[in-house]
């Protein structure tokens, strides 16, 4: 979830509230926009705010956040209007870029006073947008330049990597594009985005000076803003037009909020079948229009609001109402509210403005019958029985590793489900049996009083080529007893009692199994099928687990018994 750090005093000033350091109060205010305080550094006067909603980039700056909150605090109503002047700056898009990174949108921001704080805030927002909305620059990336150093028109094109060189930001020597990918930290981080293409994206001004190598890095000459920069060029490139435009709008609005005046540019696309549009003026601050039905609003919320009341609540939520006609409202959604996809998003804003805690909860008795899954009752009876037999139930993770499952059990690796991206090496596959987990459990309890008798009834996951998910989950049951006199007859007796109580006839058939001692292990046969093993654990296994007492164990494919019981077989 995205987080931002904001200046505590600045926030109090913008919201016209005195918090007195009361973070719970701030939490209540932030809850209107689904955000909460994650930290408060009193020394630095910095509040860390976390947003649950990942689709609200309009909130990721102190200005955007307070813009949204002022409505709920009763200080402003409706859409905040932003002015946009016109400029004759032109951006020419070369046809070659289409297959690489097709879209660009630009704006100009003039007369801005950039303090160190403001630059930091802008960089913070830029980074958040690049990472989250821009999917780590894959989908969109932002560049900001000192406009006064640039000679328009601006050319957006694609070039052969070896044929262009420039000085990347933070370096002093010229590098070819290949060298940038190899040597510059940003090249190393984001190079994969362009490497799959023959040609790389490039932004030049009319004199052939490099602005940037999107989405990797700006030029050190033109692509650097400082406290002395007054007039800026903002550019966003990317693979989805709407996201590119939304991102440009958000950055430009944030700069207006910091005192700049915005001007549009004209992006001219090449003729041909690739691009749907030929010429676009960006940014575009116009609102989107949604029709909202009063009836559907009340139907979803369970309230009885009039059109006028809804209009009023929409105003609090920072949305506009163009007109009200009969049972419909024509709602204006400002350009920065990119999260709105559907009427329901607007209805939720109505509910938030109304106040969740002002809505009377309703519990209706519905004629529904509760039912646990069919396996549950039998599973619980089995657990009761094991408990009655004196065994402590344990709970192990289903994530484990082949060393635990096979090596330490002295057995060969059987079919199991592996992860492509384990977080830790000890959890890189799903268990396909339970006994290794029990042995691991015993290992960490060497000094707890003996006898130790434990069992687990839980899921194992096995490969199954015929299943839709190529795997199947089964309930298995394993039990182990360990103490100086633990032996085969003890565990067989427990298993026998377990089976007898469920009325299962079972036989035992001699078998060789590397996890158990020869001549002291058998297959458990029910209805002609082998459904498990019972035996004395091989001392090699005990030693691998650093256990000093003999252990006797059984493991059952309990699922087979469930299926038998429920008539599924």
């Amino acid at each position: 979830m995205p987080t931002i750090d904001i200046d505590y005093n600045e926030l109090q000033r913008l919201l016209k509230v005195d918090l007195n350091g009361d973070m719970e109060k701030l939490d209540d205010i932030l809850s209107y926009v689904k955000a909460e305080v994650k930290g408060f550094d009193e020394k630095e006067n910095a509040v860390t705010v976390e947003f649950k909603d990942t689709n609200r980039p309009d909130l990721w700056s102190i200005e955007g956040l307070s813009r949204a909150l002022r409505g709920y605090l009763g200080q402003e109503k409706g859409i905040k209007t932003y002015l946009l002047g016109k400029s004759d700056v032109e951006v020419k898009v070369d046809a070659k870029i289409f297959g690489v990174r097709p879209f660009i949108c630009c704006s100009l921001v003039k007369g801005i006073h950039l303090s160190d704080e403001v630059i930091k805030g802008i960089m913070h927002l830029q980074d958040k947008l690049d990472q989250t909305n821009g999917r780590s620059r894959q989908k969109t990336s932002i560049g900001i330049y000192n406009l006064d150093l640039i000679k328009p028109p601006i050319i957006y094109t694609a070039v052969v990597p070896s044929e262009v060189s420039f000085v990347p930001l933070g370096f002093s020597e010229r590098m070819s594009l290949d060298e940038v990918l190899e040597k510059h930290p940003k090249g190393q981080e984001y190079g994969h985005i362009v490497k799959k293409h023959q040609l790389y994206p490039m932004l030049f001004d009319s004199e052939g000076n490099v602005l940037s190598f999107p989405p990797i890095i700006n030029s050190n000459d033109l692509g650097k803003i400082t406290e002395e920069s007054v007039n800026l060029l903002v550019e966003v490139t990317g693979t989805y037009y709407q996201t590119v435009l939304n991102t440009l709008n958000l950055v430009t609005l944030a700069l207006i909020d910091r005192g700049g005046k915005a001007y549009s540019t004209t992006v001219n696309y090449p003729a041909g079948k690739d691009y749907l549009q030929s010429s676009v003026v960006t940014p575009d601050f116009s609102s989107r229009v949604f029709k909202l039905a009063v009836a559907e609003t009340n139907l979803l919320l369970g309230l009885d609001l009039s059109a006028a009341e809804i209009a009023d609540l929409l105003g609090i939520a920072g949305l506009g109402v163009e007109s009200v006609s009969g049972d419909y409202l024509t709602v204006l959604v400002p350009c920065y509210r990119v999260d709105v996809m559907h009427q329901v998003d607007i209805i939720e804003d109505v509910a938030v403005a109304y106040g969740y805690n002002n809505i009377v909860p309703l519990w209706r008795e519905l004629p529904t019958t509760g039912k646990a899954k069919p396996d549950t009752a039998f599973i619980n009876t089995a657990r009761d029985l094991m408990v009655g037999l004196g065994y402590q139930e344990v709970l192990n993770t289903t994530l484990t590793n082949p060393d635990t499952l096979f090596t330490k059990m002295n057995s060969a690796a059987e079919k199991f489900v592996e992860l492509a991206n384990p977080k830790v090496i000890t959890m890189n596959c799903l268990r396909n049996q339970l006994l290794p987990g029990l042995m691991e459990f015993l290992t960490v309890n060497p000094s707890v009083e003996f006898p130790q008798k434990i069992f687990e009834l839980g899921n194992v996951t096995l490969p199954d080529a015929l299943a839709e998910t190529r795997t199947k989950d089964e309930s298995w049951l394993a039990a182990v007893s360990t103490h100086p006199n633990a032996d085969f007859s003890e565990i067989k007796s427990v298993l026998d009692s377990f089976m007898a109580n469920f009325g299962f006839e079972w036989q035992i058939r001699a078998v060789l199994h590397p996890s158990f001692m020869d001549g002291r292990v058998g297959e458990v046969i029910v209805a002609g099928n082998c459904i498990g093993l019972v035996g004395e654990v091989n001392p090699a296994v005990l030693q691998a687990w650093k256990l000093e007492n003999p252990a006797a164990a059984f493991e059952l494919h309990f699922q087979s018994l469930i299926d038998l019981k429920l008539g599924r077989m």
Binding site: K34, K52, T54, N55, T132, R135, T243, L300, L301, G302, M341, H342, V344, I347, E348, V352, Y356, I359, V360, P361, L362, W363, R364, L366, P367, T368, T369, G370, K371, A372, K373, T376, N380, M386, G388, Q392, V394, L395, T398, L399, V417, E418, L419, A420, N421, P422, V424, M427, L430, F441, V444, N445, E449, Q452, K453, T461, A467, T469, K472, D473
Partner: protein, 509 residues
């Protein structure tokens, strides 16, 4: 007349013979009873005021490692004087040391002690040792008290200082200075006979023969009627018994399941290894969403793809909803939808995929209520508040007339029935698949406010492509947090902890 059991009588008279005061160890040695028997009888005798059990602190002498070595061979001065004797009673110091095989650094020590013990004279001019005449006549140099003590300790390992004679006590102090023994205080129990006890010991008190164990034979023959049974010290500590028990967290989940069934919910099932389609796509999460990155969800190594053949209609409708909103009234995500991405196998990261499966199956009635207790997985670094594998309890309610009011009502019901809360509070929340979305906080006496659940009404982008026409409430409960609070745990790892002692001692609820 006092009536005593045989063992008690024997103990009392032994104590009397030992002068009326003795340590437990001494009595164990003298009576030949085991330690516990002496203690048991002593406690009974004390109750009868025949003796008193006193804790006495005594200095215990033990050999050090060096002391053990010398106890086994002999002291260096002993070796040296023997060499002098063998060399005729007078010898050059160096020659004697060489014969005695004494290392250079110990020669002076050995010589010093020989002089101190007055075994020989030392002439510094000639560097010779001459054995004391008196000793020479005796033909051997007698053993000193220190050597006696060393020998005793090498056999008995330890001795109490006040059990020693005055001479041996001095020897012990000397050996302590030489770092060959340690003398450390140790508390021991000493029994002291009382005046009444002395009397009882001398008056040949009647010892009644007693039986400890009631046997089948005694019962069948009826002999138990004439038998005197020993009374036990019922205060004595006994061995621990550990019952088999259910795991506390699983028991808690059993209770939650029972409650939900009671509230009219049916349990849903679904696979742990899931397609991205049910875990994400069907829940309106765009295919390029960061929550689907390998940093946030586990991918299966092999095979990579599952089959969506039997869900073709839903897949097509979800695809269109993602790309352009289909007929849901949504703008959609505007991004290209990939079937390959949809088929990619993962470990389910949220229990909501079970709700998606239930809705897609069409196997439900309206109204109906469903729930699942699902193991879910996320590539988290495990710490006090995070597990890479945990359980989610969640579900859905389908009904034609559901509204946000019902949603709040359901959450309130859960808070009361499952968490036993007194008050609830709602906040706006966010899930990609619900709108409106609500966070539930519950107030429970003694616990304060806890975030207890998240919930919402499924977006049309979720229900319509899966063929559901009625509004659907989706809810999830923070059961792990509730369990931790109920059990007084502050570390979520305790849920899967492998501490048998904790499980054995955990109280049942």
């Amino acid at each position: 007349m006092v009536e005593l059991r045989q063992q008690e009588q024997q103990l009392l008279s032994t104590l009397d013979k030992l002068g009326g005061s003795a340590s437990i160890e001494k009595l164990v040695a003298s009576c030949g009873f085991p330690d516990a028997a002496v203690m048991r009888s002593a406690l009974t005798l004390q109750e009868k005021n025949l003796l008193a059990i006193q804790a006495a602190t005594r200095n215990i002498i033990k050999l050090t490692a060096e002391g053990k070595t010398y106890a086994q061979s002999s002291l260096p001065e002993r070796k040296l004087i023997q060499a002098v004797a063998e060399l005729g009673g007078k010898a050059d110091l160096r020659a004697a040391a060489e014969k005695a095989n004494i290392e250079q650094q110990f020669i002076q020590i050995a010589q010093g002690w020989i002089i101190r013990k007055k075994w020989a004279f030392y002439d510094s001019k000639t560097n010779t040792l001459t054995i004391n005449d008196a000793l020479l006549h005796q033909m051997h140099v007698p053993q000193g008290c220190d050597e006696t003590l060393l020998k005793y300790l090498s056999e008995k390992e330890q001795v109490a200082q006040d059990d020693l004679s005055a001479k041996l006590k001095d020897a012990a102090e000397q050996l302590k200075k030489r770092k060959l023994v340690t003398i450390e205080p140790k508390t021991t129990r000493v029994l002291k006979i009382s005046e009444e006890g002395k009397k009882a010991a001398s008056e040949a008190t009647i010892s009644v023969p007693e039986v400890t164990k009631l046997t089948p034979e005694l019962i069948i023959t009826g002999k138990w009627r004439e038998t005197k049974f020993q009374k036990y010290n019922i205060q004595a500590q006994v061995a621990k018994t550990w019952p088999g028990k259910k795991h506390p967290y699983l028991s808690f989940l059993d209770d939650v399941r029972a409650k939900l069934v009671q509230l009219g919910f049916q349990e849903m099932v679904g696979p742990q290894v899931e397609t991205s389609f049910f875990n994400f796509d069907a829940l309106n999460e765009p295919q390029d969403h960061p929550a689907r990155e390998p940093t946030d969800v586990f991918y299966i190594k092999e095979p990579k793809y599952g089959s969506l053949e039997t869900h073709a209609k839903a897949v097509e409708q979800v695809k269109q909803t993602h790309e352009n909103g289909w007929t849901t009234g949504s703008t959609g995500w505007g991004t290209k939808y990939s079937l390959e991405v949809a088929q990619r196998l993962i470990l389910r990261s949220q229990g909501t995929c079970l709700s998606a499966r239930t809705m897609e199956s069409g196997k439900y009635s309206v109204p109906s209520r469903h729930f699942a207790i699902a193991r879910v997985y996320r590539p988290e670094i495990t710490d006090r508040t995070h597990l890479s594998e945990f359980n989610q309890v969640e579900g859905i309610i389908l009904d034609e007339k559901l509204t946000l009011r019902d949603l709040l009502g359901v959450l309130g019901k859960f808070a009361m029935e499952i968490a036993g809360a007194q008050k609830v509070r709602f906040k706006p929340d966010y899930f990609p698949f619900t709108e409106p979305s609500v966070e539930l906080s519950a107030y429970k006496e003694g616990y304060g406010w806890i975030e207890f659940g998240g919930s919402g009404i499924f977006r049309p982008e979720v229900t319509m492509p899966l063929g559901v026409k009625a509004p659907v409430i989706a809810w999830g409960l923070g059961v792990d947090r509730l369990f931790m609070m109920k059990s007084g745990l502050s570390d979520i790892r305790q849920i899967f902890c492998q501490d048998l002692d904790w499980l054995r001692k955990k109280q049942v609820t």
